[in-house]
Point group: C2
Chain length 292, copies 2
């Protein structure tokens, strides 16, 4: 297992972690500068943050700083109530792949979607099995283009508490079943983004990490589970502030041969997003040394 205590060369910052600073939205170019100032070698930006500044300027800025990506957030949201919606999702995922290529991302992270409309409290249908079929078909169709241009797709299983509105793939086992169905040869075109926040509770986690192996583990995200958790989406904890055995799980992951970045992704409207970005990033660096 790698020793993280001496430096932060394997730290990546998911830019959602500092998208708000002191309660206000901060543009991605500023966030990249803040990361560069601290010698952070990788980030994982979100599409809306990139679009707000511009794809080419962001690509140029990253190149100038020598900052790479640990992933690109995000494709997915495949289910829809009608054919036009399904088609629109495929088109959008194609654009996400193109952006990921421009940014030289190692993978496009897929938050696959769930009951269409549920995110706005108006589910168009309740059939979770249908949503899962639409996700399967959406990934299969997107995979054709992803293979063509060489952009790996990383399915991110989301916590079951987000099964209705954000992602109906909710365990690593389920994600790997889908990978095996659509990419039986383990070509590297399809794998998983394993965010510990979503899967730490799973009694089959270690077994399924072994099953995934290095070929399927395309990205690895960390934060912590707080007790109490006050919000289903944005009350994630800084590493070390919660109850997750982060080092034990990283041991399982690295035992597969995984040697990539550990990407810090903290949605925290109640705490970290209310602090200065400099403080949040500095604490990310120090906790990455002691708690990850």
């Amino acid at each position: 297992m790698r020793d993280f205590s001496k430096g932060h060369e394997w730290l990546s910052i998911n830019t959602a972690t500092v998208r708000k600073q002191l309660g206000a939205e901060v543009p991605l170019d500023r966030i990249i500068d803040q990361c560069a100032e601290r010698g952070i070698r990788a980030i994982s930006p979100w599409r809306d943050q990139v679009a707000a500044v511009g794809l080419d300027p962001i690509a140029a800025q990253l190149k100038a700083h020598g900052i790479g990506l640990s992933g690109y957030c995000r494709g997915g949201f495949f289910p829809a109530p009608d054919a036009a919606g399904l088609k629109a999702a495929l088109d959008d995922n194609r654009r996400a792949i193109d952006e990921a290529k421009t940014l030289n991302a190692p993978c496009l992270v897929l938050v696959v979607g769930a009951l269409p409309g549920a995110l706005d409290g108006k589910a168009a249908y309740k059939d979770l099995g249908r949503a899962r079929h639409e996700v399967r078909d959406g990934i299969a169709a997107t995979l054709d283009y992803a293979r063509e241009v060489g952009m790996p797709l990383a399915i991110e299983p989301l916590h079951p508490m987000q099964a209705a509105d954000r992602a109906c793939i909710n365990t690593l086992e389920q994600a790997l079943d889908l990978c095996d169905e659509l990419d039986a040869q383990k070509t590297g075109a399809l794998g998983v983004a394993l965010d510990i926040y979503h899967v730490w509770w799973d009694p089959k986690l270690q077994q399924q990490i072994v099953r995934a192996g290095q070929e399927r583990l395309l990205a690895y995200h960390v934060c912590d589970w707080l007790t109490p958790t006050r919000d289903l989406l944005s009350d994630r904890g800084m590493m070390g502030d919660g109850v997750v055995e982060l080092k034990k799980i990283r041991g399982w992951i690295e035992a597969t041969g995984f040697a990539g970045f550990s990407e810090v992704e903290i949605f925290s409207n109640l705490d970290w997003w209310q602090r200065p970005g400099a403080e949040t990033l500095d604490v990310c660096i120090s906790r990455h040394k002691t708690a990850v």
Copy 2:
């Protein structure tokens, strides 16, 4: 599949559903009267509610009204940071079994516990694997006494969002694995309480319901999953107000031969607990006919 549309003979009320009415705690004897007035044939009361009125008076009142139990809430909370705590949990579960016998419950529901202290935000340890071992050992020890007096134990898998603080058994598969380990002969002494709120998201739900079969399905709870869900514990929805396919899942359950009560258990500090109990119970009855 049974036709629930004509009456509510298979409706049970988990008394947590109306433990608060218009925002104030209501004693269990009053709740029982409210159920009796509506021809409700079964309830599932909580230990603290029973204790506040007295075990014998509650037993007598239920007998006088001809109301039975669909389960008794609850035993469990086995993990502890030290030997004295583990012993205290076993003693408490023995008392819970005795109370369940006095009330003639068909089973004692087990909310098994998780990281000790996490419910108060102060986890004594973070090793979820250790908690799961302590749960296994706790159920094994409790099962000896439960068999002796003839009180089935029903393990309730809780939603993964409650894995840290309330129950580290989080899927039906995991609960059934434990049942198979501790009661391989399917004697009827050990099974599961299947609360749809906790398991509706599970991609293996139907498969594991088939696996459970009638022998393991000791209790069946319903409510609904709201979008958005504003609180991890007490923002459950009335049946029909959320996104769960309740009839489809009841179909899977009854296909095993299950023919018991469907027990309505709604924790709703933000909505139903603020209404008059009469209204909540009347809506439970009508939704049981249309949405369950």
